[in-house]
Symmetry: C2
């Protein structure tokens, strides 16, 4: 796994994709918005992510500053940072699009579509 992100250009969209532009990162992020916080929670999601991919994604999201560990010890959980929580609108628009344009998708819950990034900011410390 790469330790540092290398950007293809200075385009904000392209750079965002250099961080989350893969098959799994945004799925893992989605987990945080529905209340997941520990490794095992994500494994139980409906897409059945492989254990090595999950470990890898958690590391890269932490490395990119979108999530952080709740403690230094083993068996710690993870939580969103502001940077990570601020991706919520992207997930919302993507979910809206998927529901509208792909047949037979689950309807995104209203609470999810109405939520604000601030609702998921880490408790101030």
């Amino acid at each position: 796994m790469a330790e540092t992100v290398t950007y293809r250009s200075s385009c904000p969209l392209a750079s965002a994709l250099d961080i989350v532009g893969d098959k799994w990162s945004l799925i893992v992020l989605r987990g945080f918005f529905v209340g997941y916080s520990r490794y095992g929670d994500f494994l139980k999601g409906p897409e059945s992510i492989a254990t090595n991919i999950l470990a890898d994604r958690l590391k890269s999201l932490e490395c990119a500053g979108l999530i952080e560990r709740t403690s230094r010890e083993a068996r710690a959980g993870y939580r969103l940072t502001r940077k990570g929580a601020d991706l919520l609108p992207v997930l919302q628009e993507m979910a809206r699009w998927g529901f509208e344009h792909i047949a037979e998708r689950w309807q995104p819950p209203a609470w999810f579509m109405k939520a604000k990034p601030k609702d998921f900011y880490p408790k101030s410390k």
Copy 2:
């Protein structure tokens, strides 16, 4: 290249990612919103996409119904369908996030941030 999309789950977000969840699809889409329409246009973008990847992405986006060829002949251009144009909000939110959270990114142009998918719908026929 796969001819048909296989969905990991019925989650609208996950399914959207099954279509555009890779390093390049949304970058190619971005091109259409800034006026690109032909193969060579996309090659000149700031991220220097490889020719084989571009050909592959154009095929898969067409296959998924996000874009269509302007004619059946060789040397044809491509254009967005409604389904493709409707992804604009996703790109906008991603660009907004990238500009806000990654240092020294280009500021997304105001016209881009204010644009509506309808502005890019194909001419009715």
